[in-house]
């Protein structure tokens, strides 16, 4: 009887990976709107329109930069030393990127401008005007998780400093704002399944992913107006490798817009004094709107479960919230696991996460 009930009652909520994949090239309505659009959403957290202004006036917006010379520069304190190099050319490019950061990204070398982007089997190869050839790994490998520290970080090779954000140094990330989506490598990818219920396309915006970032695109002009780094996040500016911001840290301007995942928007919304920001990695923070300084952590997010993915390590234990246990007890046909506001169904035989079947908020 229970399975019947689930089948009928949950049909409206079940979202399976193949169905979600039909979302299409980016102009469609996607899964947006409907019952999940909370009334109080304030998206105005700061539509970041500044692009040229940040880096000493060098207007780089109009250049066709694709994914930029996305470097695997190690920012963890070893300035100038690349974290990982595939080829000698990667070394040089990574060093250049690190040096550019040292200069505060003023006057980005002309040679870093992208000449060609070629999609290869192992990823995207970006060749710049200096003829440096950089490999950007495929942002989303369906077999892997963007698990924080549990495996490969989305878009970044293993062994990379956890503080790196999506393989793109923040100075370069900033410059993507105000550019058209199409020019960014892999930018038309749907979000990884973990995030798909969190950032839904709606009448004003659509969300796509590439190079370890989620891009929010304004439907009016087709330009990127918000970035969420997905990989390990920036972590505290005071150093360390925790991945979390600390009290008092400033919120970086390229990521400063109201970006709280869908399921939490009715709980945390910008209200004039208090703003809320998701770090793309593991937490939602309260940030003082006028100073952009972190004042507390309001929620921790695991980001581990996504429809179509295998159940990751560490989720063998049943963790459904108490109030939902009578509805969703593990059976030999179905397991249930909770993550970030949603209850997921898992096939015990294949260990594949097959559907989102309930939402707590």
């Amino acid at each position: 009887m229970r399975i019947w009930m689930l089948a009928t009652g949950a049909a409206a909520l079940a979202i399976t990976a193949p169905a979600a994949a039909q979302q299409g090239g980016g102009q469609g309505r996607g899964q947006g709107g409907g019952k999940d659009k909370p009334a109080q959403v304030e998206r105005g957290g700061g539509k970041a329109k500044d692009h040229a202004g940040h880096d000493g006036g060098k207007a780089s917006v109009k250049q066709d930069r694709g994914g930029g010379s996305a470097m695997k520069a190690d920012r963890g304190g070893d300035r100038g030393k690349p974290a990982l190099a595939n080829t000698k050319r990667d070394d040089r490019s990574a060093v250049k990127a690190a040096r550019a950061e040292d200069r505060g990204d003023r006057g980005r070398g002309r040679g870093d401008d992208v000449r060609t982007i070629k999609v290869a089997k192992d990823g995207v190869r970006v060749r710049d005007l200096d003829d440096d050839d950089v490999l950007i790994r495929r942002a989303f490998d369906r077999d892997l998780f963007p698990g924080r520290g549990r495996g490969l970080i989305a878009g970044c090779p293993p062994g990379l400093d956890k503080r790196d954000n999506g393989c793109l140094p923040p100075g370069q990330a900033k410059k993507l704002i105000g550019t058209p989506l199409a020019r960014t490598a892999f930018a038309n990818s749907l979000l990884p399944s973990q995030y798909r219920n969190w950032f839904r396309d709606d009448d004003d915006y659509f969300f796509r992913a590439g190079d370890g970032f989620i891009y929010r695109v304004d439907r009016n002009d087709g330009l990127i107006d918000g970035l969420i780094p997905m990989a390990a996040g920036l972590g505290g500016l005071g150093g360390g490798y925790g991945g979390y911001y600390a009290l008092g840290d400033p919120w970086p301007s390229p990521y400063n817009f109201y970006n709280v995942p869908q399921q939490y928007r009715s709980t945390w919304f910008d209200n004039g004094d208090d703003c809320y920001r998701y770090d793309g990695w593991g937490a939602i923070y309260q940030v003082q709107c006028n100073t952009n300084v972190v004042s507390s952590i309001v929620s921790l997010l695991a980001g581990d479960l996504g429809v179509g993915q295998p159940l990751p390590m560490g989720y063998d234990v049943y963790n459904v919230p108490l109030a939902y246990r009578s509805n969703y007890a593990d059976t030999s046909d179905a397991w249930y696991r909770y993550n970030d506001g949603y209850i997921y169904r898992v096939d015990p035989t294949t260990r594949l996460i097959t559907a989102v079947i309930d939402a707590l908020v």
């Binding site: 549990r150 009290l247 593991g282 921790l300 390590m313 560490g314 109030a323």
Partner: protein, 185 residues
């Protein structure tokens, strides 16, 4: 003739299903309310009055608010005595402003997603042939085993903490008190 029969069958099935749903639904609503009532109105943060060192650490990291929020979370709370077992000066250093990232990392290693009761861990240990892996919010995993009746958690370095008091149910999750501080790798 055939049409009518099929129609009848469908109609009967529909009625049966909806009646079944209603009954099941009312049963489930009752069960749901009971579970929620048992947990009460107090959050995890409200329940830490006796765990001063952990509470102070949460506040320094800005996580006190988190454990007062909707969650739900499962929190392994090291006792004050557990913190005292750390090397001399270690906690003081962690509590300094410049160590905040590390402190947050340590604390989130003690927070698990969702609500996990002791019996859930026990079942997973049994199903896993003696051990189970538990994902933490901070990104690493803990290994759970049983020693007699007690649940023991271990970090990657082999550090151990035994659950001394399990299943303190709260409105936004559950607290298990432990006698050691676990270290993320």
């Amino acid at each position: 003739m055939r049409l009518t029969k099929s129609f009848l069958l469908v109609a009967i099935a529909a009625i049966a299903t909806s009646a079944c749903d209603r009954q099941a639904d009312s049963n489930n609503v009752a069960a749901t309310d009971n579970a929620a009532e048992a947990a009460g109105d107090e959050t995890i943060a409200d329940g830490l009055a006796g765990d001063r060192k952990f509470a102070d650490a949460l506040k320094a990291a800005g996580l006190d608010r988190t454990l007062d929020g909707p969650g739900p979370y499962t929190v392994l709370v090291p006792s004050d005595g557990a913190f005292e077992k750390l090397p001399a000066g270690a906690l003081d250093t962690l509590m300094k402003p410049e160590s905040r990232a590390e402190l947050t990392r340590l604390l989130t290693f003690h927070v698990l997603p969702g609500t996990i009761l002791a019996e859930d861990i026990g079942k997973a240990i049994d199903a896993g042939g003696g051990k189970a892996s538990l994902a933490t919010m901070g990104g690493g995993a803990l290994t759970a085993t049983k020693e007699g009746n007690a649940i023991v958690l271990a970090d990657a370095a082999g550090g151990k903490a035994t659950v001394t008091q399990a299943d303190d149910k709260r409105s936004n999750g559950v607290i298990h008190r432990v006698d050691g501080v676990l270290m993320p790798s």
